[in-house]
């Protein structure tokens, strides 16, 4: 997987470079809009992470120019401006996702991963996801633990599915809220925590060998807990 990172702040650029490389990506970096646009049009990338405010050529203009050339590479816009209209104009200009600074790397990583998945979508061979002794079948909305069906509310099912889709990865609360409840809004720590606690309880009662780990300040990580 090859990414292009266009970010003018050197420290952030270096940090993100290292973090993405650790995740197994290959990266090209650009420090201004011109360089970014040149690389984006000449090379092939699986996804582009583009800062909104860039020297020489603004992020939005880079995006518009890129789309004008016919390139459909998925683009995630990073912005410090934090205006909703900024988000809307960013997405209108051809951006595929949007993240406001300051962000958590876990969230950026999952968003980039989702973008690439969506862009190169192939129908999966199976509708089942397995982890330890749990099987989730999203075609008939069923969760089995040790062959016994687990009784989940629709939102709990979506929550579990999202965590399973991103197993062993840190999932932030905003991401969960956006994909499970489908509102763009940060409901605060407690609210999601309570839902996770319920899900945890149900999984434990069914003696599923899974653990939803809470990572303070970031979010949750679902992993197998085979002991």
């Amino acid at each position: 997987m090859k990414l292009l990172l266009v970010e003018d702040d050197q420290q952030n650029r270096e940090f993100l470079y290292k973090a993405f490389v650790e995740q197994g990506y290959t990266l090209d970096c650009a420090e201004d809009g011109q360089q970014g646009l040149m690389l984006a049009t000449c090379e092939h990338y699986d996804a582009i992470v583009l800062d909104r405010m860039l020297p020489k050529l603004d992020g939005l203009q880079v995006l518009l120019a890129l789309r004008a050339t016919g390139k459909t590479t998925p683009v995630l816009i990073l912005s410090a401006l934090d205006k909703v209209d900024d988000r809307v104009t960013g997405l209108k200009a051809g951006g595929d996702d949007y993240l406001t600074k300051p962000f958590s790397f876990s969230e950026l990583a999952i968003r980039v991963e989702n973008l690439i998945k969506r862009h190169t979508f192939h129908a999966p061979l199976t509708t089942k996801i397995n982890l330890a002794n749990l099987t989730l079948d999203y075609s008939d909305q069923r969760v089995d633990v040790n062959g016994k069906t687990l009784n989940l509310q629709p939102k709990e099912f979506k929550l579990l599915r999202y965590l399973l889709d991103h197993q062993n990865k840190l999932v932030t609360r905003t991401l969960l809220f956006e994909s499970v409840w489908e509102y763009h809004f940060d409901p605060g720590t407690n609210v999601i925590d309570v839902h996770i606690a319920r899900l945890r309880k149900k999984l434990a009662e069914a003696s599923a060998q899974l653990e939803i780990e809470t990572v303070r300040g970031v979010g949750y990580r679902l992993k197998a807990n085979v002991s």
């Binding site: 702040d9 205006k83 609210v191 300040g217």
Partner: protein, 440 residues
């Protein structure tokens, strides 16, 4: 401000229309005076001449009556009858002078007169006679003079005068109405522009001609003022954007670094949470400011209000249960609401979350939805009158110890979201606390 209220504003309510009515009244009075004056000068004088002539004749006849005996008196009258314009009739045992086919009984004594029509068989036309009676000891003498010209003039004058009067008043009213409508359109244009500015479009300007009337001059002044406001606003906006940008780049570094270290030092999670709180407060303040100043464009869509209510209930239900509270949803009928889905969700979420925080353990929280209102009611200890007014202000929290988490921006944000959607927000505290959002 209600947009429709402005557009449908009745021209009859404008100040110009009231001026028109006053002006029409003045015109009417002036016209009436002018008509009376002209009448008196032209026709009144002629009428008086007729009366004077009849009066002079009366004096003469009275003199004759006292001077002569009955026989010679009537002889004298016969002579008179043939020399002047005045017609003289009498009825006596000697002779009867009757030039008329009909003489009414109700002829008053001079100087009072009466006008009546007679058919002049000799000329074959209807004549109008002004007639009066002279009482003498020889009998009643009737004097008459033909005044059909004068009478016709009077009738024509009256008809022309009343038509002139009616047309003048109607025209004054009509033009007044048209003027006030035009005037009102221009005032409405000002109002609409003001509303545009109020809604955050600072680039709105009034079009005007350079050397126009007082409206154009007013428009020019308002435009100059708006230029200054926009300039200042852009300056402040630039500053906040720069602050946001300059602050957020290092915050990003900090956040990414702490997150990186979490793997080895999980206790850094506390620092990260604190940092997140700072960022959230900062974001919430920026968002509130933008909402209040109309810089937050709405993504309007038809909202499924009952789904949204259920969503809020569903997401907050576990939190309520933790406090031993029950959330009841009572949907009479869905509210056809056009608005920004995420913002409306946030508003309702904040209200229910507040109820969970402040209603106390074991309370019942009711979410009610009908055609044009949404309300969140709890049966907690309520809020005192003084706090009620302060609650929607920024950073106001009724618990002085600030024992609950939050920034005190919740209700202020709800208020701003409602204002932005032109919805009403009302707080009341009879039994427990109730917040109601209504349309209009």
């Amino acid at each position: 401000m209600n947009e429709h209220g402005l557009r449908l504003f009745d021209p009859r309510k404008s100040s110009v229309w009231r001026l028109t009515l006053a002006f029409a009244a003045i015109t009417a009075v002036t016209l009436l005076l002018a008509i009376i004056l002209i009448y008196q000068l032209l026709l009144g004088e002629q009428s008086r001449q007729v009366e004077r002539r009849l009066d002079a004749e009366k004096t003469r006849i009275e003199a004759l009556a006292s001077e002569f005996d009955k026989g010679s008196f009537f002889q004298q009258l016969d002579v008179f009858r043939n020399e002047g314009e005045i017609l003289i009739f009498w009825q006596s045992e000697y002779e009867q002078s009757q030039q008329l086919s009909f003489l009414p009984d109700n002829i008053p004594a001079l100087p009072q007169t009466i006008v009546f029509p007679v058919l002049d068989t000799g000329r074959g036309q209807i004549r109008l006679l002004t007639t009066g009676k002279v009482k003498t000891h020889h009998g009643d003498i009737v004097l008459a003079t033909a005044t059909e010209h004068l009478q016709r003039l009077i009738v024509d004058f009256k008809s022309i005068a009343s038509w002139t009067f009616i047309i003048a008043i109607v025209l004054t009213g009509l033009f007044g109405y048209l003027f006030s409508r035009r005037h009102l359109r221009r005032v409405n244009y000002f109002n609409e522009t003001a509303e545009q500015v109020q809604n955050g479009d600072l680039s709105a300007r009034l079009s005007h001609k350079n050397k126009g009337d007082e409206f154009d001059r007013l428009a020019a002044h308002i435009n100059t003022m708006l230029d200054a406001v926009e300039e200042n606003f852009a300056l402040v906006q630039g500053i906040t954007d720069n602050i946001a940008h300059d602050l957020k780049t290092p915050l990003t570094r900090l956040k990414l670094n702490i997150e990186k270290r979490l793997e080895d030092q999980p206790q850094m999670g506390y620092e990260l949470e604190q940092l997140n709180n700072i960022i959230n407060t900062f974001d919430a303040m920026l968002k509130l400011t933008r909402l209040e100043h109309g810089q937050f464009p709405l993504k309007l869509e038809t909202i499924d209000s009952s789904q949204l209510t259920h969503d809020v209930c569903e997401i907050l239900q576990p939190s309520a249960e933790q406090n031993g509270q029950i959330i009841c949803v009572n949907i009479t009928s869905p509210w056809q609401l056009n608005g920004d889905r995420n913002l409306i969700f946030q508003a309702i979420f904040n209200l229910v979350e507040n109820a969970i925080k402040y209603a106390g353990k074991g309370a019942t929280i009711t979410l009610a939805l009908d055609e044009k209102s949404f309300s969140v009611t709890d049966n907690g200890k309520g809020v005192n009158e003084q706090d009620l007014k302060q609650l929607t202000k920024r950073f106001y929290r009724s618990d002085p110890a600030r024992q609950h988490e939050g920034f005190g921006l919740g209700l202020a944000t709800v208020k701003a979201i409602c204002n932005r959607h032109k919805l009403n927000l009302s707080l009341s505290s009879d039994n427990g606390f109730c917040v109601k959002i209504t349309n209009d």
